[in-house]
Symmetry: none
Subunit: 364 residues, 4 copies
């Protein structure tokens, strides 16, 4: 099997970058459908408009209706066609961005992704998750290419809720461990091949950046300060984790995350928060060294990521609940198969309970 490395064609990051959006769109098309939520327009609309004033490309602004559904995508495709748009821009969080990716796919035109939060590693990827109009999971839409541009306005992101960026650190925390596991298992990645040197190294850099700059960034963000550590964490959460997960593989941490979505108590938690606990469970499953466990636990506790099921909302922890999660995590089409040894649901349930116990041990 070949080694495949996927990447957005261009990743741009810096303060007030949204003000230059128009200029970045110029080489891609002449008329841009700019998708944003009404609240997003309030936050960054003026900045975006000012930027287009100096560009050759013309913007067509359209509100996002709030759900990334086939109907919404179809509606936006019609808007794009009716306006003669030849490039799609999405501004906002996960659902807005996934909708923009899907709209561009069906239009066969380039897409520019402008996250206003750094809460997960989804922006850089070649994937949209579609829901029904009433919010149920519908299907994955695998795209033939990653976004043409991912544009991170770090001023905007630094002003977003701190918990969202911390959650992004939780998602990024899993990247290296899942990449290394996939490499050791000689497993396949979301990019459709094996991982190469590049993606695995970026996954490692992602982890090292979290350890070095995570706490500094959290402290700075709470003071409203856009320090270099914050810039580094935004790059780690988005680009490093984005390339890392897609081109070097997912394994137990995300599989356990997927299992955790079956517990109603966890529904209020962010993706990255559940992934952080999934990472801890993967480390227990693989019997990581005490040194490694303590580093990860210490990090999670310092930045405020959950290390127990209780912190994820599960007030009463039982083996039954752990088995529900574990069985789902071991579903054949999930990524548990990228662990470098045979895994049974019982092993996963024990790892979940063991991680929960370790979390309590270090919290106390």
């Amino acid at each position: 099997m070949s080694k495949i490395f996927n990447s957005p064609s261009k990743y741009i990051q810096g303060p007030d970058e949204l003000a230059k959006l128009g200029g970045y769109v110029d080489p891609l098309g002449t008329k841009a459908l700019v998708i944003n939520t009404p609240s997003g327009v309030k936050r960054v609309g003026a900045k975006v408009e000012a930027g287009f004033a100096e560009a050759k490309a013309t913007p067509v602004y359209e509100d996002f209706n709030g759900e990334c559904s086939e109907n919404e995508v179809n509606r936006l495709v019609e808007v794009a066609k009716a306006n003669g748009c030849d490039v799609i821009v999405g501004i906002g969080g996960g659902k807005t961005l996934d909708t923009a990716k899907a709209t561009a796919y069906f239009m066969g035109c380039p897409v520019v992704i402008c996250p206003t939060i750094a809460s997960s590693d989804a922006p850089c990827s070649a994937l949209s998750v579609l829901y029904t109009d009433d919010g149920q999971f519908d299907r994955y839409l695998f795209l033939p290419a990653n976004p043409n541009i991912v544009l991170m306005d770090t001023t905007v992101i630094a002003a977003s809720p701190v918990r969202l960026t911390v959650s992004g650190m939780g998602d990024a925390l899993a990247t290296y461990f899942e990449a290394q596991a996939t490499h050791d298992a000689d497993g396949a990645t979301c990019a459709g091949g094996k991982g190469g040197l590049a993606a695995l190294q970026l996954a490692r850099l992602c982890y090292d950046t979290l350890m070095e700059d995570g706490v500094k960034a959290k402290v700075a963000l709470e003071a409203g300060a856009l320090t270099p550590a914050v810039e580094h964490i935004i790059e780690a959460n988005t680009l490093l984790s984005g390339i890392g997960f897609e081109s070097s593989g997912l394994a137990a941490a995300h599989a356990i995350h997927n299992g955790l979505t079956l517990l109603p108590e966890c529904h209020g938690m962010y993706h990255g928060e559940k992934v952080a606990f999934g990472t801890l469970a993967q480390l227990v499953l693989a019997n990581a060294s005490t040194e490694q466990l303590e580093e990860v636990l210490g990090f999670c506790i310092e930045v405020g990521l959950p290390v127990t099921l209780g912190e994820l909302g599960v007030e009463e922890v039982t083996r039954e609940k752990a088995m529900i999660v574990a069985k789902a995590a071991c579903a054949p089409d999930d990524t548990m198969g990228n662990m470098p040894f045979d895994v049974t649901p019982e092993m996963v349930a024990d790892a979940i309970l063991g991680a929960d116990a370790l979390g309590h041990y270090y919290l106390d």
Copy 2:
């Protein structure tokens, strides 16, 4: 200034990958103009054809006339238009690939780059170098995006002349040192911004891979063996060095290379061979540690990269020749400005003479 990370959208590497070319073209278009030299057709034509047999996309084969000139690009654009092609494929060495990139640019359609050698870091970049029909430098054509796909058939590359792959190691050798210098100087990169964490780390990985696998790969290649070390070196020469140089910056090594092209004695040497000596001169200019110098010198001598001007063909070394090179290297539009300190032509000439002397010292 923002941080910008450029990348081919998809980098694919493995044995006999050219046989899958048709399948990789499918998501990008329905009719592919496949540009190749007559000799390239002999080497890989059957493999490519077989691969298209199973694909939905239809290939249109067209010979490359040997020079990457405006006339040739225009001719190919006409061929593409006449045949209704909506994706361009280039197979071969630097000039063929640059022609394919330029043709795709003027067609406004995707491009798939299939190098048959690993002699430089150009394949992944967003740049074509145009020449006149009789082979004189014409101009740089800066492209708005990197290739959609870069496809490395390692079986083909492992069968190419060893000196070409070693030359690619010379080009890759510079990447980390120029990246670090640019980072230290807070300089701009070819991608149009500052480097971020990701590209600098890939530049470092490029260097570490050369040190770890370079000699092993050279030995294997001479025996016609496609070992994992060869796979690593192909990735280092092409992807790691490609992203590394473009998104983390060039500095003295390439500037000195450019100066060396003014010496007629060097005309027979490959790009990467001159870059290797430029790297040594950059290390002397920056007063790299003895340990670092010895590592680089030892590597060059072991794999067969030049460490003296004599090995580059300059039989009589004079300060005057060094100054010709140095003055060109310090031209304002070259990349010497990415060194983290003020540099004068005199300093560069002294570094060139000093590098030459060191090379002799370690050769003896």
Copy 3:
């Protein structure tokens, strides 16, 4: 640009050295104008007089009027001329010493500087700061040479208020970080050239001495004990930091200090206390490693240097105040340009707020 290393011609340090002052003056002149404050005379007058008794040089004692102003300097020049003095001696704190330096400069004769505190790195430098008679900043007087002799009587200094010596540690704390930044930026120093190996190394030794002996000295000073650690800290605060700052460069820490003087809340704080916080802000601006940050924060907290704006007197911290400081710190004639990367006022404000937040985080 050339490398320039400036130094007092002779730096002398030891217990009761003031008692030998006369002997040190002998080779420089025959009649010394000895400038001291009335309170200084009470503290060290008898010791100085006793020393001159055995010397060939004759002392002419003259009270300092309390302000280093052009009028005061002119007055002292007249006194010196009227008495036929051919060497000037200053005994006391910053203003007395600066007045002595300026008087000697206008007399064209040698100067002996005798600090009675170790609160800043000014004594060794070739600079006097002139004020108006009512205490407003007037101008910098750049001198062609550093003092002929700097004489540190460590018995006297050990008896001065501890907070003053701690403040000197705050000034000395910045030295290495500003020196390294200036070196990395290839910037110019106060000595009028580039730094060389010697000054950068003394800056490093200054930092290492603070880390090794700072807390020990603080504890000893509070007990009135002149231990070797106290001797080391006096040398670090005065000679090492003095040569270090002048010949290896200032950067963000002092620029931020200068900005902090615009906040009325900080007026009660000593120079070195503001510099200590400026150092912390520089470290955040440069994204120093967590290990480095923790070492500096731990040191400051242990010896009693401020790590938050609150400890500097700023009860209500706002981004507006941070921007006032930051804009002044980025003035073109200040030393922010010696940071090895482009710096904007916004970045500095974020670094100040980030440093304040980090300080609170580690204080709690």
Copy 4:
């Protein structure tokens, strides 16, 4: 005893600095007696004159007669007086510079020292060695202050014979070992006190610089290249070793050097070459570790400093000759007393013979 740190007031180093000499003289006086040898005038006269053209100070050029004798100094004092000179400039090697220092001392005016070689650490010091007119040692003239300016034109020095700069490395090689010995013995330094932190650290930096840059510089100098390593070695030989030896102490190495001057066979060797062997003998005397011995021996052999008495010209080595050297080295007014243990002539003779034997052992 007090700690005393002596230094030239200003040390300036860089390419073509002699062309700026006039500007540097300006703040020190209006009429400069410029002392140079006839051959020195040929080498650098035009450069110096050009520089004075733009300065306010007027130069009075006077040839040096070749010997630093009381008569020559008196002659030059008369020339200076007759021309109304108020500043003295010496350009050249040791004797010219010592003559300039002595002339300035008797004139009571500032002195600017411009070495055209880097063969010893004498330029920065407060000492002149006087000879009789026919070249016999007369006496030491201890000066009250170090030079006002020491100006190193590295272009000129890099063009001087390589053996001279290597000899300077030999002189510099002793600095750290003698400084550390004096520190351990709590001995006195040439500056008239004890060493402090600063001078000892510069001595250490001197050694580290030789180890890192010595061989690189030698190789570059042989190729006529003024690389950064050459700049570093010039600073090490002159400033670092100059401050180091004067303010942190001499010990066995220079005492043994002084003894070696009694052997007629050594008269053709440079000061630094004899000091290098003296250093080796000191290491044997103090039973330095094998690691340390090998580092020093390896360095000497690589740069071409003598490690045996044979290389110093002593064809027949006998215990009698060693005792002649050893007895002189142990003279009470020499610096053997700065070794941190009791030393007898027998011990020194054995150390000399042992060093010679070790040198042979490593040479073979």
